[in-house]
């Protein structure tokens, strides 16, 4: 997404006008992945923003924001199977600790998955969905 914004700015400077970057993916899966990344990036941003306000200014908005986050979690559980939903929520809330160390997600069978980035989470969700369809 950063690369897209950087290239957008370059073309806008050249043309001297605003432009729109329209996603023209060739497959439905790619389109879906992009939408997922967009939503997850927003989710992560609001979560980090809440934590940063607490760390920087000592203002704890967690009680105020709680219903908002519960709404998001509710929709995630509504749209995804239990383990997939847990993986998504884990990715935002618990994957990284305060020192920035990344921790693995553990599935109900005790298998560990490292999500270094959103692509890793997407790959996990795809393989999990495949497993669900087979069983």
């Amino acid at each position: 997404m950063d690369q897209e914004n950087e290239i957008k700015k370059v073309i806008e400077k050249i043309l001297g006008s605003n432009i729109t970057m329209r996603y023209d993916a060739s497959t439905d899966e790619k389109k879906l992945k992009r939408e997922f990344i967009k939503v997850m990036t927003l989710f992560e941003t609001v979560w980090e923003r809440q934590n940063n306000i607490d760390v920087k200014y000592g203002a704890d908005f967690s009680t105020y924001d709680d219903p908002f986050f519960r709404t998001i979690e509710g929709f995630i559980h509504f749209c995804f199977d239990g383990v997939a939903a847990e993986a998504i929520i884990f990715y935002v809330y618990a994957r990284k600790d305060m020192e920035g160390t990344i921790h693995p997600f553990v599935d109900p069978d005790g298998k560990e998955y490292m999500f270094d980035n959103i692509d890793d989470l997407w790959e996990f969700l795809m393989s999990w969905a495949e497993q669900m369809l087979k069983s």
């Binding site: 950087e6 043309l15 001297g16 605003n18 729109t20 970057m21």
Partner: protein, 113 residues
């Protein structure tokens, strides 16, 4: 019957550092390429009465650069300034003509509404 379609330019933009993008902005060839393509797509959009125009496709982002009709005139101003700098006054005259057409179509739409 097959619809006549404009072939869209495909440009792959790969870079490691942001400075490379600054170089791209400073490149006369790249600026001319983008401006020419924008002008050509504006002409096409006017002809087909479209509200937006697709300038080019960037395969590594799987995205297209799209300009809205309300910005056509501004982009043509940029192109006119560029060709003034090149002292290509024939091209400038063509662009001014096209800009008048764009502005005229905008005015007509306003009156129509």
């Amino acid at each position: 019957m097959k619809k006549e379609q404009r072939e869209v330019l495909s440009i792959e933009i790969q870079y490691d550092y942001e400075e490379e993008l600054e170089e791209l902005i400073g490149s006369e060839d790249f600026t001319q390429l983008i401006l020419d393509e924008a002008v050509s797509t504006i002409e096409y959009a006017l002809d087909k009465e479209r509200k937006s125009a697709r300038v080019c496709y960037i395969p590594n982002l799987e995205s297209s650069v799209v300009i809205e009709k309300r910005n056509f005139s501004k982009i043509l101003d940029t192109a006119i300034r560029f060709y003034e700098g090149q002292e290509d006054y024939t091209k400038c005259a063509e662009l001014v003509k096209l800009k008048n057409k764009v502005d005229g179509s905008g005015e007509r739409n306003k009156k129509g509404n």
